[in-house]
């Protein structure tokens, strides 16, 4: 027998190493730290906040930052730091709730039209064109205007518009993956369409969608705060960064900290998502 058993090519390093490699990158590490802290603040705001965010103290209105009130106090004497911390709950919730449904719908629709093409794909193309030609914010505001202001309606509005972006990305990825013979092999093996789409194509096509999701969560916070600022999202006295910035707007020359601090919170959290997204792209890429 001239054909001996062949040994596999040198096996690669331990499976853990990819996460370790990713964490070795400063960007990913910083992102992970930011999001870790943000999540803790969002889950247990009362534990971290020094005061009740809605406790009104008319004797201490619009005080500048001090040891007692590191972010100062607002026009009703509420502690600004406590309000920014409590806002984490609703703003982090926004990042998830405003995107997760769009993500799920987008992945499913994108994978289906990418796999089946045909008439469904043509209709999908028109829908995408129609939605994408409108500025995102204008469209969301229009939907909220119809449904009425409030957080729930805002999530519905963002989902109605946002799924298109995920679907478009997913469709393109699935079509690209269809060019690989493992997809053809699945068909030849007689596997069901559902199995080919969800078990074979999806795991290979999803990476860019997940990475986009991370940036989109940052955008969702931004969008949610914008709507809050405009009075279309979260409603006062709810502590939400957009609402906080709006409240501070009238005092921007005398009590600048009221708008600045929640603004910084938005920037830092957004940065966290973006950094994580970059690292995830490396982490999720298949080897070889």
């Amino acid at each position: 027998m001239s054909d001996a058993v062949v040994t596999p090519a040198k096996s690669s390093d331990a499976p853990l190493s990819r996460l370790q490699l990713a964490l070795r990158k400063p960007g990913f590490l910083i992102g992970a730290v930011i999001l870790g802290i943000s999540t803790l603040l969002a889950l247990f705001p009362s534990f971290f906040a020094p005061y009740d965010p809605n406790f009104i103290d008319y004797l201490a209105v619009r005080q500048p930052p001090s040891w007692a009130h590191p972010f100062g106090t607002d026009m009703l004497g509420r502690d600004a730091l406590s309000r920014v911390i409590h806002a984490y709950t609703v703003n982090m919730q926004m990042a998830i709730l405003a995107t997760v449904f769009a993500l799920t719908i987008g992945i499913t629709v994108g994978a289906l039209v990418g796999y089946y093409r045909g008439v469904a794909d043509m209709i999908f193309g028109r829908v995408v064109d129609a939605i994408i030609t409108f500025p995102f914010l204008v469209l969301v505001i229009a939907v909220v205007a119809v449904l009425g202001p409030g957080l729930i309606n805002m999530y519905i509005a963002i989902t109605l518009v946002g799924w298109v972006y995920y679907a478009r990305l997913m469709r393109a990825e699935v079509i690209a993956q269809m060019g690989n013979d493992y997809a053809s092999a699945g068909i030849v093996m007689g596997y069901s369409d559902r199995r080919i789409i969800f078990r074979h194509l999806l795991p290979n096509a999803i990476t860019p969608v997940i990475v986009y999701w991370m940036t989109d969560m940052a955008l969702a916070i931004l969008l949610g705060s914008s709507l809050g600022y405009l009075g279309l999202g979260a409603q006062p006295p709810q502590a939400e960064w957009g609402v906080l910035i709006a409240e501070g707007r009238n005092f921007i020359t005398t009590a600048w900290w009221l708008s600045l601090m929640p603004g910084i919170a938005i920037v830092i959290t957004g940065l966290g998502f973006s950094l994580i997204g970059d690292g995830l792209a490396d982490l999720l890429r298949p080897r070889g």
Partner: protein
């Protein structure tokens, strides 16, 4: 034809580094090439044949470290500055690649790409360049050459694109052509045309050719001398007839016998067990030892060097195959 060699490669070594590990892509490759001669470099993927070719023209410098000596008409190329090399590239030494589509600029017409080369390497005037471009396209067998000057690469078929590549490479009448798998992407009938063309032009312009290929048939039909490479080293080299008809290195023999020619149909083919080693984990002694049936203990610990076994014939093996009669029936 025993005048001075125009190209002498001596102990050429090229090392890449990947993630902190030094990869010996090419080790101690030596050969010489006379005017109008065709030298083959044959081997499997990862054998270092393409890297050797790229190291000659200083292209491997950009991603690896090149040691040893490459003398081109007496000049040392390995130590030459990029600026000096540029004057030799294209004018004296030209190169063609495997994939004609990616080595042509898709946004420029074929005529422009041809005349640019001429502008860079000759003193011809505008008119003369155009005439020469038409002449070159005609020469490589592109019909209606003058009308095709204004066309873009995508308007040509694969075989025609490779002809255009050859026309561009040979426009400045180089003395040496480096060809990296020039016909691998082409069909056999086109391959035959292209190889004939290269041979004809080499003969007419008394140009030397170094041809990299994995196809022993191509070697047999085009080369005068051949070097068989394995894991970055030459394991056997010499006159193409001698090497192919009486291989002395077990790897060469395995390679030749793996080709199903003159074997009873549907019988088991001779095959070399295992796979070529990764450059990351080369065996200690002879790189071929783990796959070699003639391997002894010595092969696992010491590496055989390239030894003269006959005039102009070398092999790197402790246990070379017996030299059978020339007319082995």
């Amino acid at each position: 034809m025993t005048d001075h060699p125009i190209l002498e490669v001596e102990n050429l070594c090229t090392t890449f580094s990947r993630g902190g590990t030094a990869l010996p892509a090419v080790r101690d490759v030596s050969f010489a090439l006379g005017k109008g001669q065709v030298q083959g470099l044959v081997g499997e993927s990862g054998s270092g044949k393409s890297v050797t070719l790229r190291s000659i023209l200083g292209l491997a410098r950009h991603y690896g470290e090149v040691n040893g000596s490459v003398r081109w008409q007496g000049q040392e190329l390995t130590t030459m500055s990029e600026w000096q090399l540029r004057k030799i590239r294209g004018r004296e030494i030209a190169m063609i690649f495997q994939e004609p589509m990616t080595s042509l600029n898709p946004l420029l017409t074929v005529g422009t790409q041809l005349t640019e080369t001429l502008k860079a390497h000759t003193d011809l005037g505008r008119r003369a360049r155009r005439d020469r471009a038409i002449e070159m396209l005609d020469h490589v067998g592109i019909p209606a050459a003058s009308s095709r000057l204004g066309e873009y690469p995508h308007q040509f078929s694969g075989g025609m694109r490779q002809r255009v590549m050859i026309a561009i490479a040979l426009a400045a009448s180089p003395k040496l052509l480096l060809a990296d798998e020039p016909t691998t992407a082409l069909d056999v009938t086109i391959q035959a045309q292209i190889l004939d063309l290269i041979l004809k032009l080499a003969d007419e312009m008394s140009m030397g050719v170094v041809l990299v290929t994995h196809d022993l048939g191509v070697v047999a039909q085009t080369c005068d001398t051949v070097s068989v490479m394995y894991a970055g080293r030459v394991v056997e080299q010499g006159d193409v007839r001698q090497v192919l008809q009486t291989p002395r290195h077990p790897y060469t023999e395995g390679l030749i016998r793996s080709v199903p020619q003159d074997v009873p149909p549907r019988t088991q083919l001779y095959s070399v067990p295992g796979t070529p080693p990764s450059l990351f984990s080369l065996p200690e002694g002879c790189a071929f030892a783990p796959r070699c049936q003639a391997a002894s203990e010595a092969c696992g610990s010491a590496r055989p060097t390239l030894q003269d076994i006959a005039p102009g014939r070398q092999t790197a093996c402790f246990h070379p195959m017996p030299a059978t009669q020339e007319d082995a029936a």
